[in-house]
Symmetry: C2
Subunit: 143 residues, 2 copies
Amino acid sequence: MMTELEDLREYLHARKLKATRTRRLIFQEIITSSDGHPNASEIHERLTRKGEKVSLASVYRTLALLVKSGLVSQVDLGEDHSHYEPEGAKAGHGHLICLSCGAVTEFSDTQIHRLIGRIGKDHAFKLDKFSIQVFGYCGKCLR
Amino acid sequence: MMTELEDLREYLHARKLKATRTRRLIFQEIITSSDGHPNASEIHERLTRKGEKVSLASVYRTLALLVKSGLVSQVDLGEDHSHYEPEGAKAGHGHLICLSCGAVTEFSDTQIHRLIGRIGKDHAFKLDKFSIQVFGYCGKCLR
DNA sequence: TTTAATGCAAACATTTTGCACCCTG
DNA sequence: CAGGGTGCAAAATGTTTGCATTAAA
């Protein structure tokens, strides 16, 4: 569980950047987030509520750094702001987004990977990453 | 080609909304757009350049209406604003987005449809629509 | 002690909204 | 001519940036 923090430290040290308390707090907040996909202001609120004095500007600056590092990925859930999630081993997964309650469920599927890979080849396109949003209604809301 | 305009007229008439010149112009701009996925300000600029006096506010209001009607769909291409495209027969397709030149190529694949359908079932999720963005480098940029 | 990182506030970009006036039906 | 639609300007969001100050290394 602290492995990720080590990864961050390593990343920062390798490029002579500073492992500040602010950066650790923000990264930890993403890793330990119960809802899984917080946005910038949620991260800011949660830290503030915990008594940490971190500015929203730092949240944005740190998020940009984390995304660039590959430790965190930026996801679009169909809202007008970005969400962030730890980039775990389960790379390349999609999100099921409920249009009624907003619940977000992740899914991962090896067939999708293979299919996307083939589509890239068919179009002479060297792929870097992909993102899938499936909108609809979750089991709870259907009842 | 004028079929779409008829569809718009029909949609508006059915709910006692007005088929104004502004609405027709904006819808036509999306249908006939050469680049395929204009954003709000591109639509506004193009109409202005053609000598049409349409406000950006009306562009946004009309886009919202067109999306709700199902005649147009809103797409996310990884930028900080939305793009719009006609909702043709080829429903449910994805976009290949070049990280170098920004070119956007569409793809459609029946296997993806099937796969997404199955994923929905597996999660007791009634699906409405889906969206796929594949980021990478296009053939031109690889040379 | 050096230099990167932070907080704050102002700046930006995109989208939304209130209101007086205009046009379609 | 009634009611929805439009333009304009102001406001609301989400995100970025300049600068003086703080804190890692």
